[in-house]
Every structure is written in structure tokens, then in C-alpha cells.
Symmetry: C3
């Protein structure tokens, strides 16, 4: 196998994007687009543009040619060309170019603003599978159930029903509380007390109680499907220090006997810590989704750090794209470029063979997810 064959192999690998959201519905003006290419939820200050970022330059570099523009076209030209197509055409264009065979869709975040599982499958001509978010399901149950004591059973039934065709679960405990929670499974009495407190507060929109959040985690683990956890950076509504996956160590020990696989998502800047956990715990895998896209020209450097301690069977690919279909495409494109560069670099420096590099790329981009989620 030659270096060119290795690059070709990575460029054409049908990826499993094991953690993604839907694509945006309806037209997007400049302000709307700029707000969707940053993790900040604050208005963009008038003295800056979110295009002036690694992600912004990556859009101008890699997405512009799909709109028949030169690479590095200006943000203005890019948005003008984009505005000539409707969102469905844009989605088909970018999803089609991403080379993804399967999307695993987290439907629990702003489900109304973006396409659902079936619509994503249709637009992309790929397979799409659902990942069910634990917190959203509890909030749904609570909004429909007035009796506190009925909630635990109702939640288990709801989860059963919602996951009948799903391939995984997701938790955003990192956002709602952080990983510095008591690792032990809460007792039924503790759960009821916490539910009582929550109902009494009159604010049952968002679950933030640490007892309930860890009850969700344990219930999710008992369900048995792979459990995805948001880890590391994300939007403004986060204490990044509490999203360090090392805080999960004792909880990972306690759930290990139950046999459920845990997947750490994104992880930046704690991706080396994630690699350590994946090294020592058989039931831990991780990805650098979201990260790969946001660090743009630095993707190879960051992905390489994830390839230090991690066993190669524990690496997964995701985009974590949400909104503009450019992001679904960029996640894949930047991952391919970075993986070619990193693994090709190992070959060039004499440490790896091309055959091993190609095999690791396949594990990372596809086979590990196929095994973990039982798909493909």
C-alpha cells in the first residue's frame, strides 16, 4: 500500500457519524448563520465575526467549492451563494458530499429547529438511527405526570418505549450539574424525595437536581444500550472544569460490572484524559467530535493527542453537527484530512506501516462504531 492509497482509503471510507443532530430547517440570514458556527450563545459583538475563527476559515476553504466558489471565498460571497439555494438543497449537497453511511442522531436538543431521524436519512441518502437523550425523556414524563410517585415507573416505561428502535442513550449531566456527583446509585427513596422537591419548586422545565441526574445515568446504564456523555467544551452554559472526564472515574468503576459501554463525546481539552480512561477501562470509548470541526486547521494536532494512550478499538468518529449542513460535511472532511495527516505522518516517520494505518482509520471511522452499536 502506497501513501497515496492510504490517503485514498481514508478519503473514501464510509463513515459512521455516531453522534450528530439534525440539519437546520428554513432559511438562515447572516446573523443566524454566524450564531450557529460558534458555541457561544451570546450575541456576536459588532467588532467581530464568527467567520474569523478556525471553523469560519474551514467553511470558506472547504464548503465554498461545493457552491462553485473559489476556496477561501469571502464570508459575504459565501453567504450570498448559499442564499441562492433552499435549505433542503443545501442539506442534500453537503450531506451527500460527507461520505457518511450512518448517522446516529441525538434528537433531544431543539428537536423542532432541525430535521428528525427519518428526514436526515432521506436528505442524506444514508441510514439514520436514534440516540435518546435521558434528560429530555424525564422532562417529558414529568410534564405529563402529576403524581410524583408514578414518575419512576413511568420513566422506565417511557425509556423502554422510546428506545425500542434506538441504538444508544445520551446524557448531558455535564451541562446540568457537572461530573462531580456522588457516583453511587441513588435509592428509590432518594429519588422520590428529589422528585418531590422538584415538583414543589414549580420549575420542572429542566432537570438539574444531582440525585435525579445520577438516577438517570444509572437507569440508562441498566437499559444496556451504549451511553454517550457530553464531555469537555460546549456552550456558555457549562462549567468546563466540571466536565473533566476524570471526575467520572469512580462512577465508571461502579457501573463496570453492569457491562454497559460508555462513550465520552468531544472531550477537548480533556482528550488525553479521555484516552487514559479508554486505556484502563474496557467499557470506555471516546471521540473528538465537535472538537475536530471547531479547531479546523489544528484538527490533526488535536486528534494526534487523542491517539496517545487510547487503544485503537476505543476511537470513534462523530461530527456533533447541529444546524447548517456545512457542519455535517466539515466534521467528516476535517476528520479525513486530519487522520490522513496524522496516520500518514506515523508512516512517513517510519513508525507505522501503511496497512496498519489504513486498518486503524477503518476502526476509528467505522468499525468500532459498527461493533459498539450493532449497526452497519
Amino acid at each position: 500500500m502506497s501513501p497515496e492509497q492510504l490517503a485514498d482509503h481514508v478519503a473514501n471510507l464510509p463513515l459512521i457519524d455516531h453522534h450528530v443532530h439534525g440539519v437546520h430547517r428554513g432559511p438562515l440570514g447572516r446573523a443566524g448563520f454566524e450564531q450557529l458556527i460558534t458555541e457561544s450563545d451570546r450575541p456576536v459583538p459588532p467588532w467581530m465575526s464568527t467567520f474569523d475563527s478556525q471553523l469560519g476559515l474551514a467553511i470558506r476553504r472547504y464548503c465554498a467549492p461545493l457552491l462553485d466558489l473559489d476556496p477561501h471565498a469571502s464570508a459575504e460571497d459565501y453567504l450570498a451563494a448559499r442564499a441562492k439555494l433552499d435549505e433542503a438543497s443545501l442539506s442534500q449537497l453537503f450531506l451527500g458530499a460527507s461520505g457518511v453511511s450512518d448517522y446516529l442522531v441525538d434528537t433531544g436538543y431543539q428537536g423542532d429547529a432541525v430535521t428528525g431521524v427519518d428526514e436526515l436519512a432521506r436528505l442524506s441518502d444514508a441510514h439514520a438511527h436514534e440516540v435518546v437523550r435521558l434528560e429530555s425523556e424525564l422532562e417529558y414524563v414529568v410534564s405529563h405526570e402529576s403524581t410524583v410517585t408514578a414518575v419512576p415507573d413511568a420513566f422506565v416505561r417511557r425509556l423502554e418505549q422510546r428506545t425500542a428502535g434506538a441504538v444508544g442513550l445520551k446524557s448531558i449531566v455535564a451541562y446540568r450539574h457537572g461530573f462531580d456527583f456522588d457516583p453511587a446509585e441513588p435509592s428509590s427513596a432518594d429519588v422520590l424525595t428529589a422528585l418531590d422537591r422538584w415538583y414543589a419548586s414549580g420549575e420542572t422545565g429542566r432537570v438539574t437536581d444531582p440525585v435525579l441526574l445520577r438516577w438517570l445515568l444509572w437507569t440508562g446504564v441498566r437499559r444496556g444500550l451504549p451511553l454517550q456523555l457530553h464531555v469537555g467544551f460546549g456552550d456558555t452554559d457549562l462549567q468546563l472544569r466540571s466536565a473533566d472526564p476524570l471526575l467520572l472515574t469512580e462512577w465508571l468503576r461502579q457501573i463496570e460490572p453492569l457491562g454497559t459501554q460508555v462513550v465520552l463525546l468531544h472531550c477537548y481539552p480533556f482528550h488525553r484524559e479521555a484516552g487514559y480512561l479508554a486505556h484502563v477501562f474496557p467499557h470506555v470509548s471516546f471521540d473528538l467530535g465537535l472538537t475536530t470541526m471547531y479547531v479546523g486547521a489544528r484538527a490533526a494536532a488535536v486528534l494526534a493527542e487523542g491517539l496517545e494512550l487510547a487503544p485503537f478499538a476505543k476511537l470513534l468518529y462523530s461530527s456533533d453537527a447541529f444546524g447548517p449542513a456545512e457542519l455535517h460535511f466539515l466534521g467528516a472532511t476535517l476528520w479525513r484530512r486530519a487522520v490522513s495527516s496524522v496516520l500518514g505522518g506515523f508512516v512517513e516517520q517510519g513508525d507505522w506501516s501503511e496497512v496498519d494505518a489504513a486498518r486503524v482509520a477503518t476502526l476509528w471511522g467505522r468499525e468500532n462504531a459498527a461493533r459498539l452499536y450493532g449497526i452497519g
Copy 2:
């Protein structure tokens, strides 16, 4: 624009060194010089030299030619050549070669040992502006005011007067307590109680009380000038773990409505964390000053990590030089080399255009600071 034109552009960019100290007064022997090229305040052990470090090698590589020595001249030859010039000539030589148009001078540290704002301007033939250190001003007020209840108003007046011509404020709460402080603004009663305790202790030389330190921060924020915070590594008198800027997250949220810009200085090894904060909070910028100089041949690698999540409007240049004018020169020289290497590398790998690279270098080295501090 060719790669050479990009390199030329960065090499000739007039920098705004937005956080710097004065240059040393009077002659420096070997021991004195060695002690000023380390952050350690401990005597250098007899079995080592601080020249055996990235900074030491950078001095021998980049400063030696300005003294008509070959690059990599020995430390002995370097110091001998240096000793032939007086400090004013050395300062003019190295400041003149740094290509800095504006210095923003923190006058609050060992003001007697180094030149002040005007003298730095004269020696460098550049503009110089003052940055006022909050802790020093409170210590000044306390040393002149015997009545505790008069201190709060006296401090506000003092700050008003001292900042009449200043462009920014600085806090070293990282050294005096760490960032693990209560983020809320203290009440007037709390401040008076803390002042009482401090006066009663009989040791009012250094403010270390966390209530007073955060009162200084809040008072600084209310003053409205950009507020610089020491972040990350520094001298021996520091708990580095408490200088992680993520500890500031909740405080940053609370001050956000006041509209004051906060600048995180140095940041190593928490520069990725600083980049995250600059990404999500519109009022946060940061630099890699001090770091760039100390990591020498590794400057490009470290600066590149700062260029991952950070919006390009949030990057600033500083040297944080203190003492030998070599450091003022090296801060600029190593930054130019590193930025050329990093941004040129993005161009070479096909991710950025030369035009974008030149524009980002200009934002980083000059324009962001000009906008933030209203200078240039």
C-alpha cells in the same frame, strides 16, 4: 500574496506590546542576569545555569548577533559583550530592534528597579501607556490612610486619579489568593470588616485577603478600563492549580453585564482553557505573553494551541518582559517567528490563504489591542 510576503508582513508588523514592564536600571553581573531569566526566585544551584533553558538558548541565538557575536555564542562570551555596553545603550539597542510601536506598561511591580512609562518611551522611541495595578494602589492607600472607614472612598479617588491617563488595569489575584474566590461583589460591610481585620493584623504590606482582592476586582471592573489578570505560570510564589482561568467562569458571568473587557495574561499551561473562555464570552481576550519567551524553540507549538478555539478577535500580543531589554526584544522576535511558522503552516497545508494569515497576524499583533485599549 506569496509565503515570503506573508513572512515579511509578520516580520515588519509594528506590534502593540499590551503588557510589559520596564527595563533594568544599572549594570547586571552574571548572577543578576541569570536570576532575571528564570521565574524561580530561588538562588540558582551551583550545578546548573539558567542559560541551560529554552530562554537561555534563545538569548544566545537571537540576541548575540545584536552584540556582534555569532548566533549561539557561549553564555560567557555573551555576558562579556553585554558588559561592554551600559544599560541605556543595551535598552536602546534591544528595544529599537523589537519593532514595537506601543508599550502598555504595568508599573506595579518593583517600580524602583526598572524604568517607568516615560523612560521606556524615550529609550524605545515608541509610545508608552500605563496599566495600573489594583493591589499596589490599595496598598498605597492603606499605607497613607489610618482610618479604616475612609479607605473605600480614598481607594476609588486614588484609582480615578491614577487612571486618568491610563489605558488599563491589572490584577494579580492569582498570586495573592488564586481564582478560587467567591465570585459575588462583596458588600460595603464585608469590605469594612475585612479592612478592620487587615489593619488589626498590623501587616498591611501586601493585600491577601480574598474579600479585599475581589472588592478590588469588582471596583476595577466598575472603572470600565480593560482589566488584565495574571493567569497561569509565574514565579515560585504561586499555586499554579489556583491560576486556572476556568475558576473564573462564574465571576466572568457575573461581571458580564457591566461591559468591561477582561484580558487573561500568559495562561500557560491553561492556554486552551483561556481559548475556550475567549470563545464563549464576548468580554474575554487573552495572550501568551511570558510563555512565548520562556518556551523559546517551542513557541510555535504553544501558540498554535492558543489558536484552536479562540476567535481571532480575541488574541493579543505581549512580551511581559521585565528587566533585561533582551526580553522585550525576544518576546517580539519569538512571537514573529512563531506566528510566521504557525500561520504559514496553515497556508502550506492548504487550510488558510496567505491573505487571511496576514490579516490574523495583524489582528493578533496590533489591531485587537488598538481596539480594546483605544490606542494606536
Copy 3:
């Protein structure tokens, strides 16, 4: 000095492996071998192999040729070729090829499973010196001493006797408790109370009491020999967050007047933090042992991060190999490759001279350890 001469110099430098364990006794099947090339103590899941890791690929790349196989031979072929030799022949082969002049052997971990100091010297034809583990010695004393009040004196006597010919001490407080311990020296009364509690528990196999662990540290420091501390990643029995060396800052300040040198081992992913401590504290050195081996093709990238703040007099080489003699060889081989690449890179980019690069390599691989331990 040419780049080739620099590479030759590093390739032929007689190393001091200042922290290592013995080589495995008796034959190793595939399962046994796979378990010794991971830090995880969990059974390897049936869907993965520990050969699919940076370390596994490094074994196939660099050890296979010593068994007359092609580089990148398959794991199956490698193990088949290995099985044709007995462990003594394998040890002589790999130890002989490592170019190590002196081994400093930590004898406190699974001493029965691996060779002792003298046997390692004989197999390698190198010098071997002992490093005595504090926790094991206390556990020995406690298993032979039924009277609590006799333990403190008995331990000091035991340590005196065991270290008569030793060159250093070692502590694994990172495993047994973490670095978040009270930094102060415990009183005699506190030690006796803790011993009482331990004896009363009936479980005196492993010392885990934080009072006793820090008494061991202080007693070790008072003994005066260089004290090695496990830092950063290791096996599953660790809270990695508590193995951050910055947690040692206050303890390092308190022991500084006693004049004992402290060596931080491995350090990943906290090696930049270790470099900072080595920068500011004259009595702190560190290595990237274990790390270098486990990160394989990434060794140069990781070692370079250790070369940022650290004075060059504070860098040490170790393999931390345990078990298969491949690891003793790989530690040295990957270090040589990485150091050539990193220091050669500094030369190539114009920052360092070849002569300085060669000198720093010699300090790092040999001379710093020779000075610190008084050997070679």
C-alpha cells in the same frame, strides 16, 4: 557537528535508566504478554487486542527485527518467534540492544515475578543499583512487628539497613491516596494513632492511611537520598486527578529546606505541570518514563512538551519497564528516536546549535542522573 553526527551521538549515548523494574521470569503466552503491554489490569475484551495500540505497533516495528522478522511483522508472527527463545535469551537480547549503562531498579513491585537487581545486571551486562520503595518497607516491618509503638523505630532501622547500598527511594502515594494530603510532617503521636487504627483494622497488607503515607514521605526525605514519586497515569487503581504534581506544591515548599532532591516520574498528562515545578523549585527533577513507551509514534510530540519550561539540568531518562525485556529496549529506543527528532528539529528550524542539542541530550540521558544519584 552535522545533523548526522547529532543523531549518531544520541543513538549511541550510554543511558542511565534511572527508574526501571526487573524482567519477567518464565515463559509468557499471548494472554500473559498482552496483559503486560497495557496499564489496565482488566482482562482484555475478546473484541480487541492490546497490540492495537501505540505500544503494540512499536513492538512490532522495533522489536521484530531483533527476532529476525521484518518490521511491522504481525502480532502472531512476533509471538511465535518470541516463543522460540527462553526468557533469559530474550532478556539478554533486548537488554543488550538497549544501550543502557546503568539501571536504577525499583524492587518494591511484584518482586517475585521479575528479576532482582543483581540478576538484571548479569543479564544486561550493565550496572544495576537499587531504589527502595517506602510503602513496601513499612508493610514488611508491620508484617514482622506486633507492637505498634515499636514500628516507628523499627521502620527507621529497616530503612537504614535496606538503603545502605541503595541510590534512591520511591513512593507510590499517588496510588495509595493521591497527592491531596496534608503537606505537614505528622507528629509522632499522630503516627502512633494511625498505626493503632491500622493494626486494629486487621488489614495491614497495604498502607493507605494518609497520615502514614506522608510520614513515609517525610521519613524518606529525612533519609536524604533522591526521592522518586509516581506521578500521572498508571494502572486502573489510580485517581488520575489526584496524581497531578501541582497538588504537591505546598509539600515541596515545606521539604525544600531539608535539601533532598525529588524526582517526578512519568507525569503524563501533567508533564507541563512537572516542567513548571522543575523550573521554579531547585530540588525538583522529572522524567517522561512509561509515557515515552506507551505513546509510541507520539513520543517526540510529548517529550517536546516536557522541554518547554524545564531547565535542562532537570530532565531525566527512564523506561519504567516492567516484565517483557522488550519494554526495557523500547523505552531506550523510543527515547533516542524522539530526542533526535525533537532536538534535531530545534536545530533545523534555526533555534539551537547541534552542539547544544548534543549537550542537552547527554544531560537528559545520562549526566543529570549521574549527578543526582552519584553514579556513573
